[in-house]
């Protein structure tokens, strides 16, 4: 009896442990499969024209997404101008001046804002910019992406500032620096690499956002000048091209997916290499 019992326990042990290994294999295997498929399919669909030409009309093959690449760049620039200052300064507040109930509320609300679905942020930008202006614009898209950048900018700034040893602050103050001066000339420079990496990761994340752009920056098959016109972005192009019924467009969607994913993953891999000593990455 006792032996049978032990045998059963040992069997359960081996079986369950194998199952967990299998789970890992499936999860990791999916990744390899997805990336492999996309890279093979995307790379073969990619041409030089993709980076230099405008989209062609339906039925005409060739063309590229030069306007969408520039569009994504412009949207990210606007988003950074809006989201990074607020997020960065908010993070400085939490790390250097925080400690009250107010900071508790700010942290909690920031985390909630991080969890708001991107499509809802899109509605927000729509009611704030598109509705009063009565037309889609680059500005509205930039605002939507900027709001999305705030929570992660806050959290990563706070985290990296907190990682700066207190002795540095004390040293600066002992030399007679005011608190503001010590933050500006000692603490922030010490955390610079981490904060910059956080910003890069943040940009990589919003660069792939589609939903908040659908009814803010809308899309544009031509060049968009200035900031007041609708503008196309790479992820939005992937969406419209993927659900369109044209074989040729599907190829372009794969190429765009390849370019977008390569960019996002490159930033992520570099960032993780830079931050390898640190365990937590704000997300």
């Amino acid at each position: 009896m006792a032996n049978l019992h032990t045998l059963r326990r040992k069997t359960v042990n081996v079986v369950m442990l194998t199952i967990t290994g299998l789970c890992t294999f499936i999860a990791a295997g999916t990744l390899v499969y997805i990336l492999g498929y996309l890279f093979v399919h995307g790379a073969t669909s990619l041409t030089l024209d993709f980076f230099t030409k405008l989209p062609t009309p339906v039925g005409e093959s060739g063309g590229g997404m030069a306007n969408a690449i520039v569009g994504s760049g412009k949207l990210l620039l606007l988003a950074s101008l809006f989201g990074i200052p607020i997020g960065f300064l908010g993070g400085v507040y939490l790390a250097e001046f925080g400690g009250s109930t107010f900071s508790y509320v700010v942290r909690y609300v920031t985390d909630l804002l991080n969890g708001v679905p991107s499509i809802v942020i899109g509605i927000f930008a729509y009611t704030m910019v598109v509705l009063p202006q009565k037309h889609f614009s680059t500005l509205a898209g930039g605002l939507a992406l900027g709001v999305m950048m705030i929570p992660i900018a806050v959290r990563s700034t706070e985290e990296f500032l907190r990682a700066v040893p207190n002795s540095l602050r004390e040293g600066a103050m002992a030399l007679g620096a005011t608190k503001a001066r010590s933050i500006l000339t000692v603490v922030i420079p010490a955390a610079k690499n981490g904060i910059m990496t956080g910003i890069m990761l943040n940009l990589a994340r919003v660069a792939g956002e589609t939903a908040p752009l659908l009814f803010t920056s809308f899309g544009n098959r031509y060049w968009s000048s200035g900031w007041e016109q609708p503008i196309s972005a790479l992820p939005v192009m992937i969406f419209t091209y993927a659900i369109a019924p044209y074989e040729d467009w599907h190829k372009q969607a794969w190429a765009a997916g390849f370019v977008l994913l390569t960019m996002v993953l490159t930033v992520n891999i570099i960032a993780r290499a830079v931050l390898s000593k640190r365990k937590h990455i704000a997300r």
Partner: protein
């Protein structure tokens, strides 16, 4: 710590007067405090404004349909009749499917990575899996349309043979369906479950394991009866976080769910989700009531994810992280 001015003690040496207001302002302390405080308050203001905008801009729909909006299943833009039920149903069903597939796989993999795998392999695999979390959702949609749906078409006959007797797997299958959306969502949330659960399991103190092993428990018994219960809260938190993601996910679902606002028992039938209908119909919405109804859907989605997220955050970090 907030604005405590540095107290100047006058115990030894020549007495220096406490720096006056003007001096401190020139030193920038007040200015730095005020500027960063305003940024922090700005975050609260933006979030508040977001709620306010959703609320006021959905007033037409809220006024006309009231609470029945949530339980009506007619979605008829032509006759200005709007009910959210098909979308709520689709959102809940696809997210539930995702959890059904994602939890066992994710938690299983997290257990393996934290408890069994050699640290180097574990780190490498975790790195890979966390990269999955960085893949934009539109790319998951792209893969869903061109890779997953053909695969599902292949296995659909055997799926039906096995489970066709239930109402959930009956009826024709066109490829786009609630089931397809559930699978894509599962792939998307697994990395979150794995990376957070693994971290939580790794933080369980080693003596818990040693004590169990010393008492003669097998490796699995130690893991399942001691370590996992210890880490239960954090694992639950990761699941809630994943759920919130699944509920709010837009692009991947929009591309594979089929976009049909009907409630059907069969998971193989096309459906719709809250986020998907906003994405698809917002730009085409003519008339104030139509737009307002879509914004109210946004409000419903917002409320849903806020509640789930709030619970997740409390579970994962406990309240103390916010107290700093």
């Amino acid at each position: 710590m907030a604005a405590t001015p540095t107290t100047v003690t006058t115990s030894a040496g020549p007495v220096r007067p406490a720096p006056g207001y003007w001096q401190r302002l020139r030193g920038g302390d007040e200015a730095a405090y005020v500027i960063t405080f305003m940024a922090a308050a700005g975050i609260l203001a933006i979030t508040g404004l977001l709620v306010l905008e959703l609320y006021t801009n959905s007033s037409a729909s809220r006024g006309k349909f009231g609470w029945s909006f949530l339980v009506t299943s007619t979605w008829d833009p032509v006759n200005d009749q709007f009910g959210a039920l098909p979308f709520i149903y689709g959102t809940v069903v696809t997210s539930f499917l995702a959890l059904l597939m994602g939890i066992p796989l994710g938690v299983g993999a997290a257990i393996f990575l934290a408890e069994l795998a050699p640290p180097k392999i574990s780190d490498a695999l975790t790195f890979l899996i966390e990269l999955l979390a960085a893949v934009p959702s539109v790319i998951y949609g792209l893969l869903g349309v061109f890779v997953l749906i053909p695969i599902l078409r292949e296995i659909e006959p055997s799926l039906k043979a096995a489970l066709g007797w239930t109402p959930f797997f009956s009826g024709p299958f066109y490829g786009v369906s609630l089931f397809s959306a559930g699978v894509v969502l599962a792939v998307m949330i697994i990395p979150f479950i794995i990376s957070i659960s693994r971290e939580v399991i790794l933080s369980v103190p080693g003596d818990q394991r040693e004590a169990a092993l010393a008492l003669g428990a097998t490796r699995w018994e130690t893991t399942w009866d001691i370590v996992v219960p210890y880490a239960k809260k954090g694992i639950m938190g990761s699941i809630f976080l994943a759920l919130a993601r699944a509920l709010g996910e837009t692009m991947a679902v929009t591309m594979v769910v089929g976009n049909d606002p009907k409630i059907k028992a069969s998971l193989l039938a096309p459906g719709y989700s809250i986020a998907a209908v906003i994405a698809n119909e917002f730009t085409e919405a003519t008339g104030q009531l139509y737009t307002s109804a879509l914004i109210e859907l946004g409000l419903v989605l917002f409320a849903l994810t806020i509640v789930i997220n709030g619970m997740a955050r409390l579970l994962i970090i406990g309240a103390d992280k916010y107290k700093a």
